[in-house]
């Protein structure tokens, strides 16, 4: 089945300035997101997943001074070189975001209604003011919120974590986006709520046809929702494959390590749960050659000196950057 590109990222490179030092947090990353499909982005924390997500619409600037290069093609337009005005028309309207920590992502001094209405006023000129109330209640009910009408009047601190995340999701779908970027949307929630939110996101994809970039450090969660999975390590994508293939036949040693770490993969109690030795390199100081080589069980001589290129499978569905696959 041939898929249509919705978003194509080419050689994305993001640096932030930290105490006068330039740190490259996303390094030469390329991937595509297809219409009505979910791309899962997985990796340990600190490997640049969030920065990748924020870079797509130049959202990095709200937190730090930054520099982005490369191209992000969305609907045939490059978002990175587009003027700020055009970008505002895409961000929040066609590409929306959900973040990790629902309790800090809603403005504490504005009511739920005020925060949701803003989106309508900005992105839904087709709805009249008098229709806002009905529309917002419906929007909240769609994400499974009970007592939706009352909840509109509340302030964020009066809601539970799960409720806040539902509001974030409702807010992110009000403008009928084409792409939803969900950055660890379930990490901060209780396990039962996590499952509910996953089901909800799944149904959004199915019923509204929203494509997603779903970021998580948890392969289990990603496996449940993603059609494709990209594995990120130290600012680079090391492997991209269709989800089933990646989970069943991982290629990159890092991916294998991640899969070995999953609890269901250590059945016998005697064998301890596997871990990947070592730590993610911090502060933008990366080892030479393959960035994973100090932690890699299959490290070869050339891994230490030469960064591996991308190797593609014949059907071009799988990509991996590892010297093991050089022939």
């Amino acid at each position: 089945m041939k898929k249509n590109d919705l978003l194509e990222v080419k050689n994305l490179k993001t640096s932030v300035f930290n105490d006068q030092r330039q740190v490259c947090v996303v390094d030469d990353v390329s991937f595509s997101i297809y219409e009505n499909s979910v791309l899962g982005l997985v990796g340990e924390s600190g490997c640049g997943k969030t920065m990748t997500a924020l870079s797509l619409t130049k959202l990095v600037g709200s937190a730090a001074r930054f520099e982005i290069s490369g191209a992000v093609n969305f609907n045939g337009k490059d978002l990175l070189s587009a003027p700020a005005k055009d970008l505002l028309r895409v961000r929040g309207r066609q590409i929306t975001y959900i973040f990790q920590e629902p309790s800090t992502c809603l403005n504490p001094v504005l009511t739920v209604r005020e925060q949701m209405e803003e989106v309508l006023r900005l992105h839904r000129k087709d709805i009249s003011r008098s229709g806002y109330d009905k529309f917002l209640v419906e929007g909240l009910e769609k994400v499974g919120m009970n007592f939706a009408a009352q909840k509109l009047k509340t302030y964020p601190h009066q809601l539970s974590g799960g409720e806040k995340q539902r509001i974030m999701i409702a807010m992110a779908t009000l403008s009928r986006p084409k792409l939803l970027i969900a950055d660890e949307p379930t990490t901060a929630l209780d396990v039962t709520i996590q499952a509910q939110i996953l089901v909800l996101l799944h149904s959004l994809k199915r019923e509204l046809g929203i494509a997603m970039l779903f970021i998580s450090h948890d392969l289990d969660v990603i496996g449940e929702i993603a059609d494709y999975i990209a594995v990120m390590y130290a600012g680079k994508i090391v492997e991209i494959s269709p989800a089933q293939k990646l989970l069943l036949t991982p290629k990159h040693p890092y991916t294998k390590g991640l899969i070995d770490c999953l609890p269901q993969n250590c059945k016998d109690n005697i064998r301890r749960r596997k871990v990947i030795a070592g730590e993610v390199p911090r502060g933008g100081i990366y080892p030479a050659g393959c960035r994973f080589h100090p932690r890699c069980p299959d490290c070869m001589d050339k891994c230490r000196t030469r960064p591996p290129p991308v190797f593609r499978s014949k059907d071009a569905e799988e990509e991996v950057s590892c010297w093991l696959y050089s022939n």
Partner: protein, 327 residues
Amino acid sequence: MLNYILKRLLTLIPLILGISIMSFFVIHLAPGKPTDIRFELNQKVSLQTRDRLEKLYGLDEPIIIQYWKWLKRLGQFDFGRSFIDERPVMDKIKERIPITLAINLVSICLIFLIAIPIGVFSAVGEGKGFDRTMTIMVFVGFAVPTFWLALLLIKLFSVDLHWLPVSGIRSLEFETFNFWGKTLDYIRHLILPIFVSAFTSLAGLSRYMRTSMFEVLHQDYIRTAYAKGLPKRRIYFRHALKNAILPVITIVGLSIPGLIGGSVIFEQIFAIPGMGKLTYDAVMSRDYPVIMCVLVISAFLTLLGNFLADIAYCFADPRIRYGAKKQ
């Protein structure tokens, strides 16, 4: 909420008692005890003073009874009669308070109107030209002694340029002016005092506002606002300012002592017949009943100011306004 106010009111009681004890202690520093070693040249005068104080406060009685009497008089706001003109101290204070209050209110408004935008724009353009200029101005503002600033301004605008009157609050021919003439006359007299009294707090508040705004701009909910595609103006002035201004409310309360103290200085320099001038004159002529009254009343005003600022803060912050009800 009501609970909180009541609780807060209860905490005032020990403070009020404490203020009464402290000021009672200050009275006992008064000169004239025969056993004291004094710097006074004229022992006779201080003995006379002691005599009058003894009559006023019953200083020859046991200390507990003295304190009890002092407390009872405080309760009735009876501070005795001035040593200088034998008028009840409260009457003297009452006729002096309005002008001081008016000047300070105007300067508080001025401080807020100027400092908040400065703080906001400094924080928004951190490290850029405006922010740097303002940082320098803040350091200058902190270091300029207000009385020196007043002298230089009088020298420039009144003595050399003859634009503004040197002192007082109205001209000799005030009564001959029509309404607009009178208003203009007040403005011409009060513009320098108000500027001087606002100057130091202006530096402090804009610095405070900058820090507060800066912190808010790095919060997650600001990133959410960006992600919604909101224009910057709306993010700064609705999402950020509404949060950043909350802690500033309590600053109004905290700035009261400084303003009261400052009144003494600028009212003396500009010969404004307010409470500050009254205090200065009383200190110069050792009019103890007046000094004690000013001391106690200014402490109560400070206490009241902090209390009101606290309550106002609770009303302004929905987390507290609706927080107490829920638990």
